[in-house]
C-alpha cells in the first residue's frame, strides 16, 4: 500500500510537467500578451520592449518555461499585469471556489445518492419514472440557463436571495450557485447510484445478508450501498476538479470572485502568468483527487488490494 502511494505520487511528476508545458504553449499561441496589456492604444515601442524584458517575454519559449517552472517550485507563480502576485490572487480565489465546490459536492452526495437509492430500490414505480424524467431535464438544460433562470426568479422576482454574491462569499450565499453548479452532476450521480443499486440488489451477498435476518436499513447501507458506491465515488472524485475549473460560467452569472473569475479575466487580458498558474494548481487538484478516489476503493471494497 505504501509503495503504491509512492509510485502514484511519482507518476504525477511527468503528468504534471506535460500538462503545464501544454498550457504554457497554448497560452503563448494566443498572441502577444503585451499587446493585450496595453489595450486599445498601442504602447510606445520603448515601453513595450521594457515590459517584455521585465516579464521575460523576450526570451525563447522553452527558456521562459524553464524559468517559470523553476520559480513555481520555489512557490513563486509570477506577477499578474495588475502588479499583484499570482499567489496573492490564488489565496483570495481558491478559498471561495473551494467553498463553492464543497457546497456543490454536498448537494451531489446528499441529494444525488438519496434519490439514487430511492429510485434504485423502487425501480419501475412512479417515483422512479418521475425522478428519471427530472434528471433528464436537468442534464439537457445548460448550466447558464438554470443559473440565469434561478437568479431571475429567486433574486429579482421573489427576492429570496441576492442575485450576486458579495466578495466575502459565505456558505449561505453560495447555496443557490452551488446547487446550479452541482445540478448536472447531481443528475448523473442519481442515475449512476440507481443503476448500481438496482444491479447489486440481486447479488448473492445481499441475499445472504437478508437471509441472515439483518434489519433492512443495515442491509441497504452496510452491504448494498457500500458496494454500489464505487462507480459513484469515481465520478464524484473526478468531478471535484471539473467543478473547480468548470465554475467559470456559474461564477460569472453570480459574480463570484473565485478561480473561474480569475481564469476568465486572465484569458481575456492575455495574462499568461495568471492562466498558467491557476491551471497548474487545478492540474494538481485533479491528480490528487484521482489518487484519493483510487485509494478510497479499498476502503469501500476490502477485496481490492494495492501492490
Amino acid at each position: 500500500m505504501g509503495r503504491y502511494v509512492i509510485r502514484r505520487l511519482l507518476q504525477m511528476i511527468p503528468v504534471f510537467i506535460g500538462a503545464t508545458l501544454l498550457i504554457f504553449l497554448m497560452v503563448n499561441v494566443m498572441g502577444d500578451p503585451i499587446a493585450g496589456l496595453c489595450g486599445e492604444r498601442q504602447c510606445d515601442p520603448a515601453t513595450a520592449a521594457q515590459l517584455k524584458r521585465e516579464f521575460g517575454l523576450d526570451k525563447p519559449v522553452w527558456q521562459q518555461y524553464l524559468t517559470y517552472m523553476g520559480n513555481v517550485f520555489t512557490g513563486d507563480f509570477g506577477t499578474a499585469f495588475t502588479g499583484q502576485k499570482v499567489t496573492e490572487l490564488m489565496s483570495t480565489a481558491f478559498p471561495v471556489t473551494i467553498r463553492l465546490t464543497v457546497v456543490a459536492i454536498v448537494f451531489e452526495v446528499v441529494i444525488g445518492i438519496t434519490l439514487g437509492v430511492l429510485t434504485g430500490l423502487k425501480r419501475g414505480r412512479p417515483i422512479d419514472t418521475t425522478v428519471l424524467l427530472l434528471t433528464l431535464v436537468v442534464i439537457s438544460v445548460p448550466t447558464f440557463v438554470t443559473g440565469l433562470l434561478l437568479q431571475l426568479l429567486l433574486g429579482v422576482e421573489w427576492g429570496w436571495i441576492k442575485p450576486s454574491v458579495s466578495p466575502e462569499a459565505t456558505f449561505s450565499e453560495l447555496i443557490v450557485p452551488g446547487l446550479v453548479l452541482a445540478s448536472v452532476s447531481l443528475a448523473y450521480v442519481t442515475r449512476l447510484t440507481r443503476t448500481s443499486i438496482a444491479e447489486n440488489r440481486r447479488s448473492d451477498y445481499v441475499r445472504t445478508a437478508v437471509a441472515k435476518g439483518l434489519p433492512r436499513h443495515r442491509v441497504i447501507i452496510r452491504h448494498l450501498l457500500r458496494n454500489s458506491l464505487i462507480p459513484v465515488v469515481t465520478f464524484i472524485g473526478t468531478d471535484i476538479g471539473a467543478l473547480m475549473g468548470g465554475a467559470i460560467v456559474t461564477e460569472r452569472i453570480f459574480n463570484i470572485h473565485g478561480v473561474g473569475y480569475q481564469l476568465y479575466q486572465g484569458i481575456v487580458r492575455q495574462n499568461t502568468q495568471t492562466v498558467v498558474g491557476f491551471v497548474t494548481v487545478l492540474v494538481l487538484v485533479f491528480l490528487i483527487a484521482n489518487l484519493l478516489v483510487d485509494l478510497l476503493y479499498a476502503v469501500l471494497d476490502p477485496r481490492i488490494r494495492y501492490a
Binding site: 494566443m30 515601453t47 433574486g155 466575502e168
Partner: protein
C-alpha cells in the same frame, strides 16, 4: 480494521501532495459592515493596471482617479470645457513656454500640501521609461522627453529638462514645439499631482492610493471592491454630495444589471446590449443615454498598395455611402450610437470644433452613387472587402455583419464584403501592429481630453501613435502644425477643421457612428449624469 489503514494512507497522500504546491490560504476580504445611509454602490470592473495616474488608460481605473485626484484643470462634466481647478493661472506668450501658478491651500488627504513639486515629481515619474507608465507619451511634448524615454536603448536622464520648479507654487514648462491648446490637455488624469509617499513607500501607496480629490479610499480589496468615502477636508468647490461610493467589481454587466433590478446595486454605468430593448420599460427616466467622446471608424491599411493608389479614395467613399448607418444604429444599437457625420464627436460642441454634416453626402446612404464610385475607383481591391475585427469583446460581430450586408446590398454583389473575425483582442492588436491588414479594420477612438486636436493628430498625423493604418498626407500635417502653433484658440480650431477637411476629401477613414454612454440607477439616487468620458459624475450624485 483494514478500512481504517487505507483511509489513513489516503489522507497522508493528500497532505504530501498539497504541501508540495504550498498554495496559501485565508481570504483577505474587508467586511466593513453595513452601508451608510448616504453611500451609494456602483458597478466597476477590475482595473487592468496598477492605479497610478500615468499608468491608467482605461475607464475603470479612470473612475477611481476621477474621484481621488484633482489636477490643474478639470473638464466640466456637462460642457467638457477645461476649467481651472488647482491652476491659478497658466501663462504663455509664445505657446511653447508656460508658467504655471497653482492655488495655495490645497492638500492631499494625508495632510501634505500640494505644491509645484508635487506636479513636477509626478510628471517626471510618468515620463520615465523605467517606470513602465502607459501614458508616458502624454509628456512627449515636454522638452527632454527623448532623453528620459528614448524610442530604443536606455534612458540617459531621469527628469525632464523642460520642467522647472521656480517657487513653492510655481513651475515652468518648456515644450519642444508650439502647442497652443496644451493647457487644455492638463485635465487628463495622467497630469495629476502625487504626494511624496507615492515615491517613498510605493507599495503601500498602491494598496491604498492617496490623492487630493473629494473622496478618500477607506478600503480596497483588489479584484473585488473599493470603498470610497467623502473627504471632509477637501479644499475644492466640487465637494461630494453623498457620503461615499462603494465600487463593486462585476465580471459580467448582465449580473450588475440584474443586481440593479433587485435593488442590490444603485448605479450601473454599462447597460448590457441584450437589455437595451427592455431598459426603458425597466427603468423609465432612470436610464440615461448621452453622447460620449467616442467615435467608431473603419480604418484602412495604407501600407497596402491596393488601398493606396490613385482612385482608391473613390472606392473608400463609395464604401462609406454603401453603409446604412441609420438602420444599423437603430436596430442593432437601439439608438445608443448616432450616425457619424464628421471625424470628431458632438461632445466637443460646435465651439470646440465639432461640425455636424462635414462628411456630407459621403456619409449618407446612397446605393446607386456608391456602386458608381466603387466602379470609377477601379473596383474593390481583390474583389472583396474583408472587415477585420476582434470577436472576443463587445458586439462587434453583429455590426460588422450588418455593415457587410449593407455593402453587399448596395453593390448588388453577395460576396463584396465579409467579416474577418480575429479570436482575441491581443491578437487583433498584434496583427495591426505588424501591418498584416489587407482590408479595412475596426478602429475606435475614445478621446483623452475634449479637444479637436485629440481626434485628429494621434490618428491621422504621419507616424502618430495611433495612426494604425499609416495614413500620411503632407497637407494634413502642415495644417495640424500650423494649428498647434496658433496662439488664438478659435483660429487654431479653424485650422484643425481645415485639416479635418483633408481627411474627408481623402476619406482616410470611414466614420461610422458616435458612441453614447449609458447608465441606469436606482430610485434612491438623483442628479446622476455621465461626463463626456462616459464616466458617472459621482461627486454630484445625491442619495435620498
Amino acid at each position: 480494521m483494514r478500512g481504517a489503514t487505507h483511509a489513513k494512507w489516503a489522507a497522508c497522500a493528500a497532505a504530501v501532495a498539497l504541501a508540495a504546491t504550498a498554495c496559501g490560504g485565508g481570504g483577505s476580504s474587508d467586511s466593513g459592515g453595513g452601508d451608510g445611509s448616504s453611500v451609494l454602490s456602483a458597478s466597476w470592473g477590475d482595473p487592468q493596471n496598477p492605479l497610478e495616474p500615468a499608468n491608467t488608460n482605461e475607464v475603470q481605473g479612470g473612475k477611481v482617479l476621477d474621484m481621488v485626484f484633482r489636477g490643474l484643470k478639470r473638464y466640466d462634466p456637462k460642457t467638457g470645457k477645461a476649467e481651472d481647478m488647482l491652476a491659478d493661472k497658466i501663462d504663455t506668450t509664445d505657446s511653447q513656454n508656460f508658467t504655471v501658478t497653482i492655488k495655495s491651500g490645497w492638500k492631499f488627504s494625508n495632510g501634505e500640501a500640494v505644491t509645484a513639486k508635487s506636479f513636477v515629481d509626478a510628471w517626471n515619474y510618468g515620463a520615465s521609461l523605467k517606470n513602465n507608465q502607459k501614458n508616458a507619451y502624454f509628456f512627449g511634448y515636454i522638452e527632454g522627453y527623448d532623453k528620459v524615454h528614448p524610442d530604443s536603448g536606455s534612458q540617459s536622464a531621469t527628469t525632464l529638462t523642460g520642467l522647472k520648479v521656480t517657487g513653492t507654487d510655481t513651475f515652468t514648462i518648456k515644450l519642444t514645439q508650439k502647442f497652443s491648446t496644451f493647457p487644455d490637455t492638463l485635465g487628463y488624469a495622467a497630469y495629476s499631482p502625487l504626494p511624496s509617499t507615492f515615491f517613498s513607500d510605493h507599495a503601500a501607496w498602491l494598496k491604498k492610493p492617496v490623492g487630493n480629490g473629494p473622496y478618500t479610499i477607506s478600503s480596497y480589496t483588489k479584484g473585488s471592491q473599493m470603498k470610497l468615502v467623502k473627504w471632509d477636508g477637501y479644499t475644492g468647490e466640487d465637494k461630494a454630495e453623498n457620503g461615499g461610493v462603494t465600487l463593486k467589481v462585476y465580471t459580467d454587466n448582465n449580473t450588475a444589471y440584474t443586481d440593479l433590478m433587485a435593488g442590490n446595486l444603485d448605479l450601473v454605468d454599462d447597460i448590457p446590449a441584450s437589455q437595451l430593448k427592455n431598459v426603458k420599460s425597466d427603468l423609465g427616466s432612470r436610464y440615461i443615454n448621452t453622447p460620449a467622446g467616442i467615435i467608431q471608424t473603419l480604418a484602412f491599411p495604407y501600407y497596402d498598395k491596393n488601398w493606396n493608389k490613385s482612385g482608391s479614395e473613390k472606392v473608400r467613399t463609395g464604401l462609406s455611402m454603401a453603409i446604412n448607418r441609420d438602420q444599423i444604429t437603430n436596430t442593432i444599437f437601439q439608438k445608443t450610437r448616432t450616425p457619424a457625420t464628421d471625424w470628431t464627436s458632438p461632445v466637443l460642441g460646435t465651439e470646440g470644433g465639432f461640425q455636424d454634416g462635414l462628411c456630407g453626402d459621403a456619409c449618407k446612404y446612397n446605393p446607386t452613387e456608391a456602386k458608381k464610385l466603387v466602379q470609377e475607383g477601379g473596383g474593390i481591391p481583390g474583389g472583396q472587402v474583408k472587415i477585420t475585427y476582434n470577436a472576443d469583446t463587445g458586439s462587434h460581430k453583429e455590426w460588422v455583419d450588418a455593415v457587410c450586408n449593407s455593402i453587399n446590398n448596395a453593390l448588388g454583389n453577395d460576396k463584396a464584403c465579409v467579416g474577418n473575425p480575429v479570436g482575441t483582442f491581443a491578437d487583433f492588436r498584434n496583427q495591426i501592429g505588424q501591418h498584416k491588414m489587407t482590408g479595412p479594420f475596426r478602429a475606435g477612438w475614445q478621446m483623452d481630453y475634449p479637444l479637436i486636436q485629440n481626434f485628429l493628430q494621434p490618428l491621422y498625423y504621419t507616424n502618430a501613435s495611433s495612426n494604425d493604418g499609416q495614413w500620411s498626407n503632407k497637407d494634413f500635417d502642415k495644417l495640424v502644425d500650423r494649428a498647434n502653433a496658433e496662439t488664438d484658440t478659435s483660429k487654431a480650431i479653424k485650422l484643425f477643421q481645415q485639416a479635418e477637411g483633408v481627411v474627408r476629401d481623402n476619406m482616410a477613414a470611414i466614420p461610422l457612428w458616435y458612441q453614447n454612454g449609458s447608465a441606469g440607477y436606482s430610485d434612491r439616487l438623483s442628479n446622476v449624469a455621465l461626463n463626456p468620458f462616459s464616466v458617472p459624475v459621482y461627486n454630484e450624485i445625491k442619495v435620498s
